[in-house]
Every structure is written in structure tokens, then in C-alpha cells.
Amino acid sequence: MTDLTFTLLRLGYLVLLWVFVLSAIGVLRRDLYGTRTASRRDKRADKGAATPAPAPRPAPEPQRGKQPAGPTRLVVTAGPLTGTTIPLGGSAILMGRAPSCTLVLDDDYSSSRHARIFPQNGGWYVEDLGSTNGTYVDEQRIGQAVALGPGTQVRIGQSVVELQR
């Protein structure tokens, strides 16, 4: 084997090592699983490029509801579970005290199966499941399924939940 071949092999091997390591890092970068931080840029683009990035926002922001796209998560904004977030998928979210509920409320004023938030025809609706103390949307007790926009506050006992983008 000539020296030239050997030098090429030697350096080629180091390149191969680094290609492997860097592509492994590439896979990691694409797949920081569980979380995704890229969406922020999209939001900024929505608001227009002139708007600077906002500082850390205070807790519940009602004006978030005015944004065009549909809600992506359900957030508890008041009550013992404040801060809890549930991502909205394609299926309904059951709220109540029963451990089988999606959102288990710790609340003496809520029933075990209290209310349900479900998607229909591209929108989200909230429906009371015959609870004792009722479900309130904008301080109105609801009797039937009510369409729910982002930012609309739904009160169940002491807890308030809302949909957010």
C-alpha cells in the first residue's frame, strides 16, 4: 500500500468518524423529543415582523384569544391546578373529580364527571355532564353544549379553564 493511499485512508477514517458523530447530533437536533421550540418563530411571524419578541408573558392572557388559528391546549387559569396544561388532540377532554377523568379536579364543588370539552366541526365545545353545581361560561350557567373560543373562561367549581392557542 502506498503512502498516499494510506494517508488518504487515515484522514478519510477521521472524516468518517466525524460524519458519524455529527449526523448523530443532527438526529438529536431534529428530535429533541417531547418538546419543540421552533413554533415561536411562527408566532412572531403572525404578529408581523415589526413587533419585537415579547418579554416573558404574565399568566393568563385574554388577548391571546384574538389570534386566528384554533386553540392547541387547555390551560387551568384558576384554582388548585393553576398552570396545568393539556394539549388538545382530536378527542374530547373529560373534567371532574373521578380519577379516570383527563383533568382530575381537586375541588369540592365539582362533580366526579363534571364537564366535557370536545371538538366538532372544526371548533371546540363545552358541555355540562349533569353536574351538581353547574358549569359556567362567561359567568353564565350553561344548559347545553356551547361553542368555546380561545380565551373564553369556563368555570367549574373553583377552577377556571380556558383554551389557548
Partner: protein, 525 residues
Amino acid sequence: MTTVDTDERRPRRGAELGLLVLALAIGIGAYAVVGLQLTDALPEHFYLVGGAIAAFGLTAHVLLRVLAPYADQVMLPVVIALNGIGLAMIYRLDLGSQVTGGDQNLAPGQLQFTAISMVVAFVVIWLVRDHRLLRRYTYTAMVVGIVLVALPLVPGLGVNIHGAEIWINLFGYSLQPAEFAKIAFAIFFAGYLVTNRDTLALAGPKILGLQLPRLRDLGPIIIVWLVSLAILVFERDLGTSLLFFGLFVAMLYIATERVSWVVIGLLLFAVGAVAATVMFGHVEARVEVWLHPFDAEVYGRDPGGSGQLVGGLFGLANGGLFGTGWGAGYPRLVPFAQSDFIYASLGEELGLTGLLAILLAYLILVERGLRTAVAVRDGFGKLLAGGLAFVMAWQLFVVVGGITRIIPLTGLTMPFIAQGGSSLLANWIVVALLLRISDNARRPSSLPVRGQVAPGGVRAHEPVAVPGGGAVHAGAMPDDAPTAVGGRVGSVDGGGTDTGHGHATDQPTEVVARPSDDDQPGGAR
């Protein structure tokens, strides 16, 4: 501030396959180059061996698709690449010895052990369907760990090799039971700490901003400290002793988030280290070799001289930035070039560039382990994954630090690369457990993901009584609230929806039935 959203979870096994092809190219390529350089021909049985390695790698990939489809996709290729590099270096040293008239022939054995290890690893993945099963064996693991550590001291079984009594002789193979004990101890520490971490974290006085534990809670750390000192004294093995104590302190820290434990651990370690240096000749010799390797007197001393260490440093220097290339260096001049000093051998032939790539590969492996610990939902899994990932990093630090003179030289092996069956087998089992936990961590669940908090969200608070169940903490502890139904309901401690804290959380790991994803109300993904 960055917004953190749930990602859609896909197995992405294709990425693993791509990386695996590269990893196999690294191992088999090195094997070919070694043969070409030293004998001007491809190694004997090149196609057979290369084909077998590739077949094993690809089979592992397929098995992972079946057994743990959501498992981390970077770990397996990284481990296979490291293992391949190790095999190639061991084969290279064999060839080098045969060319110069020696008869060293370790590569076939190592290849055999690689095959065995991979089979065992996949048996582990297959048997342990849910890592939470392991919590049942918390105290069994402790007994197993202690027995394994003590085995080399049993007369007739233990073998004294080069001054350290850490080997046992079993069916003609010498095994290092401590390598397996580290897995058992990781399981025990995880199970023990997940139950007791509240006492360890919260009780006790606060002095100078340090939350100190109560005196009686110091028991476990003292016991582990004594055990590792006993290893040091009776088995004369600095590395293993450091490994266990480091593992325990790290897991204590992960479990409690209290810096005071690290401080206490370091203090105890310092006391032990100083005492050992003063009292035991072999430790003192190691320290002297570490501090003054180039003194003529220390260099020439036999036994316990610094010749090996200095030889390794010369090798690294000879390698320089880009290395001499496979087969062109003189790693055989260093004793144990294929096991304890394989790092120096690799440094000589691949140079700093190659070494950094290898260290980065380890870093990726460890990062994936720690990431798994962050992502998994139950406290036991968090501690176990964190502990196993840490022990690998720690072991690497102790080995590489010893060879590069950052710390005194110890007798630990470089995971996956160094020659030695027990180390290989044990580390493959560690990877198998990490793969299993990562599969659990990444598998889509119909329940919300921990740590999702609205902007400016507040931590959730007290445990609350739930009718028909145990106490359930508020907050997102998705996996367990429904799992508890019908099972034994333990005290569920969600720890709230803390985002910034890596506090591992205790959850009812005794409940192992995973809810199937479609029978849950509100399948939010």
C-alpha cells in the same frame, strides 16, 4: 423565553438505520484498514467477520423495531460504533504482536463476547417490558450487588490479577463482578431514593444556605461510603470504589436536588482518599505516579512505576492532532494497551481528532440517557436512567482522567471499547435498560406530558384526596393517575408541574399496567 410544545411522537427508526450503517462502516472500515496496513491484505475471514458484525447490528435494529419501537434511536448506533472501534483496536494489537513474533490473540474472544452481550441485552429488553417492574426488586438488587462485590473475596473463587482482587474465575473465564454490581446498585439506589428522598431532602437544619440532612439520615451514605472503602482496602481497587461512591452521591443529588449531599459526599471522599493514601502503600504509589511520573526514581520503580502511564502519554503525543493512522503507531509498547490503556492506543493511531470524535460519541450516549431520565414519567425511571447514564460518564471520566493524568490512574475499563468480557456485557445491559426506559418515555400517551405549564404558570400544590383512590397530587402526572385504577393505589406524588426543576418525582411505580392508549378519555397527544 421559548415556548415548549409537545411534539408529535414518531418512532423515527429510519434515522437509526442510517446511523447504524455509518456505525458499521466505522467498525468494519477500521478492521479492513488495520489488515491492509499491517499485512498488506484484508484480514483473514474479513468478509465472514464483517458480515457477521453487520448482521448482528441490523438484527439488533430490527429487534428494536419490534420490541421497543419508541426507544431512542441514537444509542444503538453509537454503541455499535464504539464497540466496532474497540474490536478493531484489539485486533490491531493482536496483529501487531503476531507480526513482531508474539502470540497475543484476544480479538476472537472479544468478538464472541460482543455477540453474547448483544444477545443478553436484547433478552433484557424482551424480559423487562416495563422498567417499573425492577422497582419490585429494590432490596433484592442491594443483596445481589453486595454479593457480587464480595465474590472476589471468596477463597477459591476470587483471583488476584495484577494486585487487585476484583476478578472471579468461572468456567475458565475471569469475570469482574463489580461491573454487574453497578447495575444492581443503580436499581437499588433508584428504588431506595424514590421512596426516601423526601426525608433526605427536606428534614434537617439549614446552615449557611445549605439545607443539611439530619444526622440519622446520614446512615445510607455512610454505609455506601464504608462499602466503597472496604472495596478499596480488601480488593485493592481504587476504580470500583470510586465508581460506587460516585454513583450513590450523584443519584442522591438527582433525587433530592440538595447540594449539601454533594458537599458531604466530597468531604467523605476526601477523608477516605487521604486516609487511604496514608495507610495503604498501593494507593500512595498511585498518587505518586500521578503527581511525579517523570521522576527517574518513580519511572523505574518496579512494581508500581510510572512506566505505563508515561508510555501512554508518549503514545498520545506521538499521535498528535491527526494520529499515525490505524496500524502505524506503537501502542504495543504500553502494557495493557488493549484494555486499561486502549484510550492511549486509540489516541496514538487516531490522534486528537479521532479521540474527540470518540469522546463526543460517549457524550451523545450519556446525553441520551439523561434526556431519557428527564422525559420518563415516573420517579424510579428518572433515577434509574439518570444513575445509569451518570455511571457511564463517571466511568469514562475515571478512565480517561487516569490516562491523561487528571486524576490518579485506576483500573476501570473504557465502556464498550476496552478488551474484557464482563465490562462489555455489563455495559450492553446498561444500554438495554436505557433503551427500555427511553421506549417508555417516548411512547405516546393519551395523557398530558409533564412539565407543560402555561406562560407564567404556577406550580401546583398539595396532595389531595381523591374519592376512591389514594392521595393524588395536583398537576401533571399523567401516566399514573389512570394507571392506578384497579391497581394498588399508592401515594402519588406529582411534585407539581415544575418546569425548571429536575426534581425526580415519586409515583406509584408498583402499578405497572400501562393503560392502552385508546381506552382513555380525551386522548390529548
